[in-house]
């Protein structure tokens, strides 16, 4: 069945285009569907924030486990983030701000962080939250018996001391800049977990946290319901209930949205640009787009003789029309990437060397590097070998496959032959990446909130299964990244990362391709949504539906 999925989606999309094209008008003219909007012009005082109503969100996957220490998937964290808190959190501009800790001090040498915790926080079962819960959470993560994916940041801690019920001191053996950010990790309830095996805990399916929403119900593969926590320390959330429906198929989800059964879903570029511009959609929904936390790239295997010369890599980037990829493949919903940071964050260095599309210049650069078409077959060659390579990408990602096709055409224009191969993910990693048996890969990285980049670029991280699989080696980059994680002062840090980005831009070990927009559609009755660099979810507890527009009566 997997093999057929491409066929399936292409037919489906073709089918949908035809079908949706023909039904836009009737859907828009159904009177029952637009009634939410009837009182929207009734004056501003009616649109004041109010408690109540429910938001129904669509999700393609079900959560797997609601205990943060064990969860690894996005669908689980979507729910977990409504139920649990960390000591600190990121605000709309991606700065660290207080959450369970009301303030903190960092010692001058950067080795000690002292957290002062809020005294007014209760677990959702009524037990007070104290420093013991923080200590317990730390011990849970570092316990070698806990099968967690997220122990690494806590393993750096030398000691955690509870000074009193509301003060915790964390001591690091050496300065570690991402340390503060690692305390965004959810704090677990000691009184419910201590002395028990976390992997068999009740809390996996009935979580108890300190957060804005309390767990209510979970029907596997169907839906998860959470209700507003009236005693939430940061103020009771306006929306009374969040219902997450599991609908694995995007086409079905879109139909549910059209039928008015969903209030929020993530859109594909095609849905965003082409299928949601009707009058009915404009009246009933608002679309949101903002840069996502991830970039895609074409990575060159630097052990391959063809890619050893940076002149060649610069020429390849110059020959690839990235703007046309963003326009054609992403339908304009994204931005060209020039480095490994998100363009709208403070860490991004906008002044790095860029290689705008210029096929003639690319040809000249390749000629300078010794690549000429000496046998007249239209393909460049050097030392009798033609410039021909394979772009490898993982199966199931249509965007990457389409981008590879555009790149194939672009490079053909400068005399480079490209073949494209897609491989199932596990085989892709085991048989190609880990064995370094590839010439170029088209992949993506998610962009962490902390600028730490050691894992991907350090010259010692090139052995499988480490992440510098293209074998990039640059001593200066190694030094800069080391300085980056051991410096606390953001200004100082930024200097190191700016320099790092300049070197990466010059070396072009990757051709950075694009940063994709995250696309969301939300029912128009929801107010208070303010897109920011962090996305839209950061102020979810302040979203509201004005009283006259409320659709559902919620009795908890």
């Amino acid at each position: 069945m997997v093999r057929n999925s491409f066929f399936r989606y292409s037919v489906l999309i073709a089918g949908l285009l035809v079908i949706l094209g023909g039904m836009d008008n009737p859907a828009g003219s159904q009177p029952g569907k637009a009634q939410d909007q009837s009182s929207i012009s009734a004056g501003d005082e009616k649109l004041q924030p109010a408690y109540g109503d429910m938001i129904i969100r669509g999700s393609i996957g079900d959560a797997s486990v609601l205990l943060p220490v064990l969860a690894t998937d996005g669908a689980s964290f979507d729910i977990i983030s409504l139920i649990y808190n960390g000591l600190v959190k990121y605000d709309k501009d991606i700065n660290l701000v207080p959450d369970l800790a009301e303030k903190w001090e960092i010692s001058d040498d950067g080795l000690v962080i002292r957290f002062h915790l809020r005294k007014d926080v209760k677990w959702q079962d009524g037990t007070p939250f104290t420093a013991r819960d923080v200590e317990f959470t730390y011990n849970l993560y570092v316990n070698p018996k806990t099968p967690t994916a997220y122990a690494s940041d806590f393993m750096r801690v030398k000691e955690l001391r509870v000074l009193n019920d509301y003060t915790v001191e964390v001591i690091y053996p050496q300065p570690f800049a991402p340390a503060l950010g690692s305390w965004t990790q959810s704090i677990h309830p000691r009184h419910l977990l201590e002395g028990k095996d976390a992997t068999k805990s009740e809390l996996k399916r009935h979580p108890v946290g300190t957060g804005p929403y309390c767990f209510k119900e979970w029907k596997t593969g169907e839906k998860i319901i959470v209700d507003a926590n009236p005693d939430y320390f940061d103020g009771r959330p306006y929306i009374s209930r969040v219902l997450t429906r599991v609908i694995p198929d995007l086409a079905t989800m879109f139909l549910e949205l059209k039928a008015g059964h969903l209030d929020q879903m993530a859109l594909t570029p095609l849905q965003y640009q082409r299928q949601t511009n009707t009058k009915w959609f404009k009246e009933n929904f608002r679309k949101y787009k903002y840069l996502g936390f991830g970039y895609s790239y074409l990575g060159y295997n630097l052990l391959d003789w063809k890619f050893k010369d940076k002149k060649v890599r610069q020429a390849l980037t110059t020959a690839i029309n990235r703007e046309s990829i963003v326009q054609g493949v992403l339908l304009g919903l994204g931005a060209v990437a020039h480095g490994p940071f998100k363009p709208d964050t403070i860490w991004n260095n906008p002044n790095v060397k860029k290689f705008p599309y210029n096929p003639d210049l690319a040809k000249k650069m390749l000629a300078e590097a010794g690549w000429k078409d000496s046998d007249g077959d239209g393909i460049l060659d050097k030392d009798g070998k033609p410039f021909s390579f394979t772009i490898l990408t993982n199966q199931g990602n249509q965007l990457r496959k389409n981008a590879a096709i555009v790149i194939q055409r672009d490079l053909k224009l400068v005399g480079i032959e490209v073949k494209i191969r897609t491989v199932e993910w596990a085989a892709f990693v085991n048989n190609f990446i880990n064995k370094k048996d590839f010439e170029a890969v088209l992949l993506g990285w998610s962009i962490g909130i902390d600028p730490n980049q050691i894992d991907v670029w350090n010259s010692k991280k090139t052995e499988a299964p480490q992440l510098n699989f293209i074998s990039y080696k640059n001593e200066e980059v190694d030094k800069l990244l080391e300085l980056g994680v051991s410096t606390f002062d953001p200004k100082e840090r930024k200097k190191y990362y700016d320099k790092f980005q300049e070197i990466i831009a010059e070396d072009q070990p990757y051709t950075f391709l694009w940063v994709q927009d995250t696309l969301n559609m939300i029912q128009a009755r929801f107010h208070g949504i303010k897109p920011a660099p962090a996305g839209i979810g950061y102020n979810f507890t302040k979203w509201y539906v004005p009283k006259p527009l409320q659709k559902y009566q919620i009795t908890p």
Binding site: M1, R8, V11, L12, G15, L16, I19, M23, P26, A27, I56, D62, S64, V65, D73, P144, K145, T146, P147, T148, A149, Y150, A151, S152, M155, T199, K200, K204, K219, T220, G221, E222, K223, L243, R245, I247, P248, D249, A251, T252, L255, E256, K258, A259, E424, W425, A426, A427, V429, N430, N431, I433, L443, W445, S446, G448, D455, V456, P465, L467
Partner: protein, 324 residues
Amino acid sequence: MPYIVKRVLMMIPVLFGVTIISFAVMKAAPGDPVTLVTDLNPNMNEEAVKRIRTHYGLDQPVHIQYIKWLRNMLMLDFGRSFAPDNRPVIDKIVERIPITILINVLSMILIMAVAIPIGVMSAVKQNSLFDKGTTLFVFLGFAMPSFWLALLLMILFGVELEWLPISGIRSLNYQDLSFLGQIADRAEHLILPVLVSAFGGLAGMSRYMRSNMLEVIRQDYITTARAKGLDERTVIYRHALRNALLPVITLLGLSVPGLIGGSVIFETIFAIPGMGQLFYQSVMMRDYPTIMGILVIGAVLTLVGNLLADLCYSAADPRIRVGS
């Protein structure tokens, strides 16, 4: 009944063989439940990988893993899932089996109810307009991609006419409904899935029925019945149909394991949390205990289904009774 005892005893080595082959094939697939989570994930260090691997016992040699699994299996312990939820496999299966069986049984009944009359009529009026028309109809169902038909029906009945729910197995306000309301709600949600899944299965059963019937009609005893002067209705329905129905028993027996297997595409489109999705996700995550659990249940049902079919067959048809 030495025959039955022999048959049942024969099932043991077959079942054993099935588990060995399944286990080997599963292990031969690249990747394991740990690497699928940890590969190319900057948050994972080697320590974490080792930790998770030890937790699942994946650091042991393959044959030890198999023997451990087999030992638990003999005590009917399916083990715990390797998915992050780490729940007992049996819970995950039991949670999803009812809806899958319900849809499969209903669609099987619908197929029988429609396909058998079609098959019989097509055979009786061979090459007539009715025969050709129904042939076209059932093959249309066979050839049409089910997800496409499903989407068309969802758009028509769900979005445009608003007669039926689009997806899922019950409404969001299900708990607030009366008992009868709940049954009606369930039924509404079942209509489209059952229709779509039955439509694809009509061809097989009706063509099978048609060829059985054609074969039977040419038998000497039918000629005899006609020669006796019986009217055509009696000939067809009392003498021919009964004999033509016999092979259907085998077909039913073979479809027993199919009752717990769902189609991934189908369940994905209708957002039905059934066995198809569970199996697909388990394979994608290399969730070995869940995969093995479903395969073992499937193998047992196949063997039992075959045995039952053979027993029923010999009970219904005196010609193949064993040992007489």
